[in-house]
């Protein structure tokens, strides 16, 4: 009997300790966030009562400041049903199958191109979104939505090199650092066919979206030759690993770089001048949206300078909203190499195009690379 009690006590203790330590961590995180957080938007004193109107928003995980949603609801009385996805493909499958209806979705550029082609999106009525004037025109009319008819840019970013300033003494001047024996078994590549092969294509002077088998074979050979000096092909783990100093060099998306640099002073980001990938996540309205008027209100709200500024503080990805950048102080915002890469490098950046069936070549070539011995 006594033994049983001891066992129960032990289990309770373990659970209690688990809960306590969990709580402690959460508290630390909160205070960290509060450090230089500026409340650009405050809750209205007399919130509009809920009208019973709803909109459903489908966005990437951890890609919006939850307070922003609360403010929207209080200002408009529209309830937001918020759901998240992990990959563009997950989101696409859900929309294309037609089983569920969303009013606002936030796909990336190549997926927008595909969804426009497959008639899954509806044109945006710009008359209902006056705040689009805040968006930098440089980020509209890109190849994926050439007439800027379907999408409202939400965030943008680049693919670049994150490096540890303690071990990499000279700032990398280009992608060639990924072939340098100096960082043998000291670099991370991304385990992602389009991203990694795209960069390998650029390094050989080819188009980022090339589907030419000969060009892809050259990229493949280069990556297989590089494999012995690669420490690992990583996915999301790259963030934690670079923060803990596991390797000196890594190819990362700029949004992840922002996060890593906020966690470690030793890390810096560079966008190589010879070209890279620039990506956009943009707000769109699916064709089968139920509440288009509500969706337009939400998109317009997200384009408001104060809202975009508040959201930027939480999400950390570079924003296309000029008015918000001005509100936050352009100098501070542009001090980040992630937000403000050299114009020359930016000019050489390209978006990913939707490749349709040609995508298959990438999968085949990439499988050859990672399965090579």
């Amino acid at each position: 009997m006594k033994k049983k009690w001891l066992a129960v006590l032990g289990i309770v203790l373990v659970i209690a300790v688990a809960f306590l330590s969990g709580g402690e961590e959460a508290a630390i995180e909160e205070s960290e966030e509060g450090e230089d957080y500026i409340a650009y938007v405050t809750m209205p004193e007399n919130p509009v009562p809920m009208t019973g109107e709803t909109i459903s928003v489908y966005n990437w995980g951890d890609y919006i400041d939850p307070d922003v949603i609360d403010v929207f609801e209080a200002e408009t009385g529209i309830k937001v049903i918020y759901e998240t996805f992990e990959t563009n493909e997950d989101m696409y499958a859900k929309i294309a199958m037609g089983g569920s209806s969303y009013d606002v979705i936030v796909p990336s550029e190549y997926m927008i191109e595909r969804m426009i082609r497959e008639e899954l999106l509806q044109k945006v009525n710009w008359d209902h979104i006056p705040n689009v004037k805040n968006i930098d025109p440089r980020f509209m009319n890109e190849a994926y939505d050439p007439e800027a008819a379907y999408s409202v840019p939400y965030t943008w970013g680049t693919m670049g090199i994150l490096y540890n300033t303690k071990t990499v003494l000279e700032k990398p001047t280009g992608w060639n650092v990924l072939l340098s024996e100096e960082y043998a078994m000291d670099m991370f590549m991304l385990n992602s066919p389009r991203d990694t092969l795209g960069i390998a294509l650029v390094m050989n002077g080819f188009d980022l979206n090339s589907t030419n088998p000969e060009e892809l074979r050259i990229a493949q050979d280069m990556l297989i030759k590089q494999k012995p000096i690669v420490l690992a092909y990583v996915v999301d783990e790259v963030k934690d690993k670079m923060i803990s100093g596991e390797a000196s060099v890594a190819m990362v998306w700029s949004g992840d770089a922002t996060y890593c640099m906020s966690e470690s002073d030793e890390l810096d980001y560079v966008l190589p001048p010879e070209g890279s990938n620039i990506f956009y996540d943009s707000m769109c309205i699916p064709k089968n949206a139920r509440n288009v008027a509500g969706a337009e209100k939400f998109i317009d709200f997200m384009c408001r300078a104060d809202v975009a500024a508040m959201n930027y503080q939480y999400v950390g990805y570079a924003i296309p909203n000029l008015a918000a950048i001005e509100l936050m102080g352009a100098e501070e915002y542009n001090a980040s190499p992630v937000n403000n890469p050299p114009q020359e490098a930016l000019d050489n950046c390209q978006v990913f195009r939707y490749l349709g069936d040609e995508q298959r070549i990438y999968d085949q070539v990439w499988t050859e690379v990672i399965s090579a011995f």
């Binding site: 690992a232 092909y233 783990e237 803990s244 596991e246 390797a247 349709g356 999968d363 050859e368 399965s371």
Partner: protein
């Protein structure tokens, strides 16, 4: 009799909904590919080019729609050397994992059931306890132990700093300051053994525990030494548990994917990783399903072979000889 049949309805519904239907879908996806809907180019009245669909309608832009068409082209792709090599590597790693689990797990199960062993239930619980955690968490823990900047390397580094002789000895041996434990095949095997070991111990333990102790006493009374009574009584009687353990380790080991990505750093992809890619980044559900079918056939063949061995063993006959 009729009553019994009615009771089976929920089970049959369950099985159809969650076993038969998904399986049929995988087979369907596996034997089909997406082809563009057939259309012919036509010159329209206004001089532009249009596309005529099969049903006679004419559209301005080339139709994007796809149609699933039965085709064996994915099977042809499947037997390319790249994919067969991946399958072979998966099989090799799964066999090694299963063998290590068996070599570690059987003695543990034996010790736990020993008559001198105190409180086996508690030890068994301690063994199973980590399994209450998600396997991703457990794998991440191994990563933080084995990383270049991980716990183990930090310990070795502080040992080297504390004991100069140890440091110079390691330096002479050519050991790097940071030893790379992760990102190779051995790390993948370690991660898999750790994750699957209890699946080997549990069934063996359960079977050995149920062996009639009188048999062992009888063996001793008839002059068998402990080794002999183990070989003639415990081992044959525990074979069903061993077989079950092997199945429970081998099958998930062949199809595993996340462990190889995390522990192997993407450098040791297994067939499961490639299948996952098809349903994710590459979004080629058809080829993913074809590869899944291949793995299913391999597993099925393995189970068939194992079931055959199982039937051949007749522990009772063995005991009679004794």
């Amino acid at each position: 009799m009729r009553k019994n049949k009615a009771l089976a309805v929920p089970f049959i519904l369950w099985a159809v909904l969650f076993v038969v239907v998904p399986l049929a879908m995988i087979v369907w996806y596996g034997v089909t590919v997406d082809e563009p809907v057939p259309c012919t180019e036509v010159l329209l009245d206004d001089g532009t080019i249009g596309y005529e669909l099969e049903d006679g309608t004419i559209v301005d832009t080339k139709p994007w729609q796809k149609k699933a068409v039965i085709s064996l082209s994915n099977f042809k792709r499947m037997i390319e050397p790249t994919y067969l090599r991946l399958l072979l590597r998966s099989l090799k790693i799964a066999v090694i994992t299963t063998l290590i689990c068996l070599l570690l797990g059987y003695p543990v199960a034996l010790i736990l059931t020993g008559k001198d062993f105190k409180r086996p239930a508690l030890w068994l619980m301690l063994l199973v306890l980590p399994m209450w955690m998600n396997f991703l968490l457990r794998t991440y823990s191994w990563m933080s132990i084995l990383e270049n900047s991980g716990i183990l390397n930090n310990w070795i580094a502080s040992l080297r700093d504390a004991i100069p002789a140890f440091d110079s000895w390691l330096t002479n041996m050519g050991v790097r300051r940071k030893i790379i434990f992760l990102y190779n095949e051995n790390a993948v095997i370690l991660g898999m053994v750790y994750n699957y070991l209890s699946f080997m111990i549990m069934p063996i333990y359960t079977v050995i525990e149920k062996i009639d102790k009188n048999l062992l006493e009888a063996a001793a009374d008839l002059g068998a030494n402990p080794v002999k009574s183990f070989l003639r009584v415990t081992l044959p009687y525990s074979m069903p548990g061993v077989m079950e353990g092997i199945t429970m380790v081998f099958v998930p080991a062949v199809t595993t994917f996340v462990i190889s990505q995390l522990m192997g750093g993407g450098k040791v992809p297994l067939i499961g990783d490639i299948i996952q890619n098809q349903f994710g980044k590459s979004s080629d559900w058809h080829f993913g399903s074809t590869l899944s079918l291949l793995v299913m056939v391999v597993v099925l063949a393995f189970m068939g072979a194992l079931g055959h061995i199982d039937k051949d063993e007749d522990p009772v006959k063995e005991v009679r000889i004794l």
